[in-house]
Subunit: 569 residues, 2 copies
């Protein structure tokens, strides 16, 4: 099909492919709703009004909006492949996301980014890519890969790459470090997303001046207002655990909404199934008092416009790609139908087209571990005090807790009676045999062990346990399955969620992943787990850039000073 | 200066170049006004608040906005060079324009576009360029040049070229003509401005689908609303003769303003001096009920954002170029100071920096006329009726009038007693000797003749007169001066405004041009002229694409059917 054909249809000389009649078209450009018909040719909206068409669908007065875009998401956080993710979100009206494949990049580097691009080709969801800017997170941990500005440059030419992903290393930016500035300035005019939690005043100014264009980390209205006035585009985050909309909705006005859009950052498979995706955010936005057309503008047009996408998308307008969603009303935002490039892809919450990538990219085992043996978990000391990682409920920060210990024959063991568990981070990318061992409080496990290959940001193998034997059993179960989550007790594997794609993503559906994870959580509770989402909590304990105390494969890290430290003192 | 330096200043490690204190900063991003100080380094806004600086200016509570942008203008219409134009508008707060050098391109082709770019380098005004898409206007006239898609492609690499200028040949677009589509699709993602007066429904849809992004020709609210909903960016025009703001202001809402901006299209030197430029439009906009911050958003941020300019401009925000204007209030929008890239360039209506191009490009005589003799103006016929061009007051459309004539010895002469004047269009680009001669009514001249080398769009030499002798005298006066406007009477030149740059632009200041033109108009009135702006009216009589009747160097044209026709019938 050619441009000439679309012009012919628009001009009424040739019939359209599809005519959607009796639509209440929401125009985020005109700030209005029109009752009309919408003609589609070659996957593009070509006209409004009375057209001849080969096929007609009567929308019976339902609202017609552009499909929704998530402006910033890590698909890996759902534990789903892009195809399974698409199957979960497209029926909710999402037709595009901007994905930062930051997790798989930490495991597999450029190959991981390429995997994500290939695995999302040909889906009924446009997976735009922003390139991970901070791989690895720091020098205090062994990641599977390192992405320099030079590496990223080569990736900018790949399909659907539209920008640079959240620049998390803001201290380096503010300090004017050359390596990070090179990444920010990679392609003139390309968008560079920010990540500036709590940053304010001169530090925020320095970060923006360096070439950052957006931020999705505001948690207070005051913070968001400063960022907006300073010139950042606001991505209002409403994820599974991080929910900022109710705090930030008050600062959105019709006149500044064009600088705001929505993102989920991280949404679990369960959340996607149970609550939805951008439709869920729209419900909340309107409930918080944002005008429906304004909320839809934020959910549809503002991300494509911010990212300066060349193809016209994000509005029900002429010449725009016919990514459309038919909504029952502008309150529940229930998607009755979803069109992708003019094709009906979902109806009444069900996908009605295949949803597999053009070519399923190869998945290879990413678990490379050497020298795993129970004796390597042993903590030996003559000292009597230990630095223990204290989990903070519902937050990713941890506290340093100084705890008295009583070595027996020079060995400190886990002591579940005092909620003192062993924690190990096992390097799993290069079979270096590197392993860090420490102590953690707050998990509550009375027996058994939990292991995970999802372990931010470097995704080594992390294991927490009440016994060394169970820790080894859980770790071995994971290594055998190519990664995932595992629970062991009594020296044996009890349950497992396999995540064979980079140790991060399942090959199963959102429903299966969600169920299996629920099972694992139930078993964890039966073993004494005191946290709601033990695998989520576990996955953050190696993140060396977040205070106070962390454990990596290189040992205990005091993240307040970004230095290694000793377990015993 | 480096990015590193700007980061250091933003972070407070190094003093700023300039600090503007006690500013009421208008944030078109946050939809708010903040009282703060603004730090500038290396021509860029780097921070808000308390900064050390090498120089401080106390704004004493005045409003600080980004400088204004005219989203669509033909600088040639002011009869001024870019430098003289800049001298006129910068003191009014304009810091950028998007110029379509369509007039000079019709005379000199690619060389004319290059001239415009060179002549505007290094001014305290950013002259962005959109490439003229419709040169020549039609095949019914001889232009000085022809610009194909291939020619335009080469020009896209020149400095400050940001898009394709108004695609006036909408019938060709709607018909899907290949040559015009090639121009529209020249560079993926590059903006293509439209020109669709009165276009509606399917014709408008076809025009937009082809790849048009904006329009500045709406004259009614209904028309503008349809274009906005269809997906076009609206450039609301408020020129010297075409004034659409009061009609269109009612459709602008805070929620759709992000799709709207201002343009002047054509503003005369006199208008610029007497009334101003975008500041004048802002006064009208606020008087028409548009909220001041919304009006400023339209005047500052929306054009750069629409055009996807790579450098951040159009807002008082961090990382944005310090093109700033200090405003007494948000009602009269009087510019107390204007900063360009952080340098004070105008104060209290006066330019305080030099305003000449880096290198004044060469101007060569563009008047190439052969075989100019009184006998060639003679109209011979044996018929008794003539097709006469009837001027419509205050409009550029003309009417066809069938008038009885009485040839004397087979010759039809001008008859001022019946307001029947002779009109000649003399080819002046290639010395082809081609000349069209016809009759016109509505000018009112009792004696003498007016000649102009400004003659849309091909800018041949056009002469109207009550006597052939005076017509030749006026034309000769123009040829001698390299083009311009001239009046002759009694067989001699009476007055002249020299426009030696392509026969379109003066080397004088706006004040001088304005005065000289006023003189010419007074003399025209003394000769009987019945139209307010006789040279403006004259300049449109050869425009072969506007109905009904036109005269070109190839003869009389019926623009309703785009065909040549005979004067006598």
């Amino acid at each position: 099909m050619t441009l000439r054909h679309r012009i012919d249809v628009a001009a009424g000389r040739t019939p359209a492919d599809l005519l959607l009649t009796n639509a209440r078209v929401v125009s985020v450009f005109a700030d209005s709703i029109h009752r009309t018909s919408v003609a589609i040719a070659d996957g593009v909206v070509v006209g409004f009004g009375d057209y001849r068409a080969r096929r007609t669908i009567d929308l019976k007065g339902a609202y017609l909006s552009a499909g929704f875009t998530d402006s910033h998401i890590h698909i890996e956080s759902s534990l789903l492949t892009p195809a399974a993710f698409a199957r979960a979100v497209v029926p909710h009206g999402t037709t595009a996301v901007v994905a930062d494949p930051h997790e798989i990049a930490n495991v597999e580097g450029a190959a991981g980014v390429r995997w994500m691009i290939r695995a999302s080709a040909g889906l009924p969801l446009t997976v735009n890519i922003v390139l991970p800017s901070c791989v690895p997170e720091s020098n205090l941990v062994t990641s599977g890969a390192r992405l320099t500005a030079h590496d990223l440059k080569k990736l900018t030419k790949l399909p659907r790459v539209i920008g640079i992903g959240e620049v998390m290393n803001y201290p380096a930016v503010i300090a004017g470090t050359r390596a990070i500035l090179e990444k920010i300035r990679l392609i003139p005019g390309m968008r560079v997303d920010g990540h500036a939690p709590g940053l304010t005043g001169k530090a925020l100014a320095a970060y923006i001046v360096a070439g950052i264009h957006s931020d999705h980390e505001s948690t207070t209205a005051r913070e968001a207002r400063e960022k907006l006035a300073d010139g950042l585009h606001l991505m209002i985050r409403q994820g599974t655990t991080e929910k900022n909309l109710s705090e930030l909705a008050s600062i959105v006005t019709p006149a500044n909404a064009h600088r705001c859009c929505f993102c989920s950052d991280d949404r679990s498979a369960h959340d996607l199934i149970a609550n939805g995706h951008i439709d869920d955010i729209l419900r909340s936005a309107v409930a918080e008092g944002i005008a429906p057309i304004t909320a839809l503008q934020m959910a549809t047009n503002n991300a494509p416009y911010y990212f300066r996408l060349k193809r016209r998308t994000g509005a029900v307008a002429i010449g725009y790609v016919a990514d459309l969603v038919v909504l029952e009303n502008l309150k529940n935002f229930r998607a009755q139908m979803v069109f992708k490039g003019g094709t009906l892809v979902a109806r009444e919450g069900k996908l009605v087209v295949p949803c597999t990538p053009k070519q399923q990219p190869r998945v290879h085992n990413s678990m490379h571990v050497k020298g795993l043996a129970a004796e390597r978990l042993v903590l030996r000391t003559r000292k009597r005090r230990a630095r223990v990682i204290r989990i903070t409920p519902h937050q990713i920060i941890t506290r340093e807790e100084i705890v008295d210990v009583t070595p027996v024959n020079g060995i400190v063991a886990a002591d579940p009676s005092r909620d003192l568990l062993k924690l190990a981070v096992i390097e799993r990318h290069r079979a270096s045999g590197r392993m860090g061992v420490g102590l953690v409080r707050g998990f509550g496990l009375k027996r058994g062990a939990l292991a995970s290959s999802v372990c931010h940001d470097s995704h080594n193998l992390i294991v927490v346990g009440a016994s060394d034997v169970d820790m080894i059993a859980a770790a071995r179960a994971l290594i055998a399955s190519g990664g995932g989550f595992a629970i062991a007790a009594g020296g044996k594997k009890r349950a497992r969620l396999e995540l064979p794609v980079a140790g991060l993503m399942s090959n199963a559906s959102a429903e299966v992943v969600s169920e299996k994870l629920a099972d694992l959580n139930r078993i964890a509770v039966s073993l004494g787990s005191a946290v709601d989402e033990p695998f989520l909590a576990l996955s953050f304990l190696a993140l060396s850039v977040i205070p106070e105390l962390r454990l990596t494969d290189r040992g205990l890290v005091d993240a307040r000073i970004m230095k290694r430290t000793a377990v015993f003192l």
